[in-house]
């Protein structure tokens, strides 16, 4: 239960971090809040030979409107996001989901970027990013690129991030005025979700769904954007039957995992129930 030996570098800036990543290649991992990586190292499930600590990179800790999005620096701690009234207004779904993330002690260290880069299939932050199709920016010593969150995950704890790329920021579409809902089932509050569902809906002046973002976490090997459910909602006037049809479609394409916590069949069933609840909450909040 002790980590294997590694060499440690404290990056002074984001440039410093990507330079160190370029130098140490796939031997190295970025250490952000450490709330997912360090348990894996203690259990020897992860054995990086180099850790590049970005906790001192203040430029990676920010929350600010940026065009039609709201960008959050990868190093921003979860506790600071929870305390930010501005973020609460700009990305209400994120705040709702954060209420399910870990505990005081883990949120005091845990970062947004760390959770998104780690990509646990049950984690709440990746689900919000995928549901809203946030833009994830990655930097190497040669430049920066942006990838849509819906294309970022390829499996459990695997992403499109190249070993020499450092996640810099996540930009969420501004959703001021939208209704949101987030539901999950876990063994204890604060644990990883067995299944979770997120929804964000805007109503037009006539009370029809102008836009809908729906996502399911914990079921598939990575969070999934429920495109079919979204298509069922958009342009329609909400009704119980519509919510049910959308929830039914929310698991389309999902191949639910069996594990010690639950069977895949259970996950599929619960995902539909939670999707219906999240959609209903979002509609109620949007002013239905």
């Amino acid at each position: 239960m002790k980590p294997a030996p590694f060499d440690y570098f404290a990056a002074a800036s984001a440039d410093d971090a990507v330079r160190l990543l370029a130098e140490h290649g796939d031997e190295a991992l970025i250490l952000a809040g450490g709330q997912s990586l360090v348990p894996m190292m203690n259990m020897r499930l992860a054995r990086p030979s180099v850790l590049i600590d970005i906790n001192d990179c203040d430029e990676m800790k920010f929350m600010a409107a940026d065009g039609d999005g709201f960008a959050i620096g990868a190093g921003t701690r979860q506790k600071d996001i929870l305390k930010s009234a501005e973020t609460c207004t700009a990305v209400p779904l994120l705040l709702k989901a954060l209420a399910f993330v870990g505990h005081v002690q883990t949120r005091n260290r845990g970062t947004l970027g760390g959770s998104i880069a780690h990509g646990d299939p049950s984690a709440e932050m990746p689900l919000v990013a995928v549901t809203l199709d946030a833009a994830i920016s990655l930097r190497t010593s040669n430049g920066e690129r942006t990838i849509a969150a819906s294309e970022f995950y390829s499996g459990p704890m695997s992403t499109e991030r190249a070993p020499d790329e450092c996640l810099m920021a996540v930009s969420f579409p501004l959703s001021t005025g939208a209704g949101t809902g987030f539901h999950e089932v876990s063994e204890r509050h604060g644990d990883f979700a067995i299944v979770s569902a997120a929804a964000e809906i805007n109503l037009d002046a006539g009370g029809k769904c102008a836009s809908a973002a729906i996502g399911i976490g914990g079921a598939h090997p990575h969070p999934v954007k429920a495109l079919k459910a979204e298509a069922i909602l958009v342009g329609e006037a909400p009704s119980d039957a519509l919510i049910e049809a959308a929830a039914e479609a929310a698991t389309d394409g999902i191949e639910a995992m069996d594990d010690v916590h639950a069977t895949g069949a259970y996950r599929m069933r619960v995902a539909r129930v939670l999707a219906a609840r999240a959609i209903s909450d979002a509609l109620a909040e949007a002013g239905l």
Binding site: M1, P3, P5, D7, V38, L51, G190
Partner: protein, 161 residues
């Protein structure tokens, strides 16, 4: 990897010792520094027994490396008591309300509760449950711990008046 010299402030005193980067803050406190108040439970971030305050905020000492705490102020359960060793009002309340049995979880509970009271002198039951939600106790069933924290808050508010 070579040990490096790490200096941090523990319960108000500057302490220095050498450790490899892979040594957690918890092992650093309990080993070379001999400060054994923070307990080692799971060592992977689920039990809360290792909770300490870093710069006043509760964190899990098993999920932070000692090198990361260099230059920082760390408070362990030993730092809660008065300088004469007298239990703090929170510790008194744990005794009076039977907030502990075996005591294994208690240092972490006290740290989590102290952080709550520092921020919120009048917590309701939901605030208390949220504050200790990351700490596991296998003995008490939590009810008396919650009562102890309520009692400490009451006593502290009365004393402040």
């Amino acid at each position: 990897m070579k040990p490096r010299s790490i200096t941090l402030t523990v319960n108000g005193a500057k302490r220095t010792a050498a450790a490899e980067p892979r040594v957690t803050l918890l092992d650093f406190l309990r080993g070379p520094l001999g400060v054994t108040g923070a307990h080692m439970g799971c060592e992977h971030g689920v039990c809360g027994a290792c909770s300490v305050l870093v710069e006043g905020e509760p964190v899990r000492a098993c999920l932070m490396f000692a090198v990361q705490a260099a230059g920082k102020a760390v408070t362990t359960v030993e730092g809660l008591a008065g300088s004469d060793g007298e239990p703090s009002p929170l510790q008194e309340a744990f005794r009076d309300a039977h907030g502990l049995q075996c005591g294994y979880c208690t240092p972490g509970m006290l740290i989590a509760a102290q952080a709550l009271l520092d921020e919120n002198p009048d917590p309701d039951e939901a605030d208390i449950r949220e504050a200790i939600g990351g700490n596991i106790c296998r003995c008490t069933g939590y009810v008396q711990i919650i009562e102890a924290i309520k009692l400490a808050a009451e006593n502290l508010r009365e004393a402040a008046q």
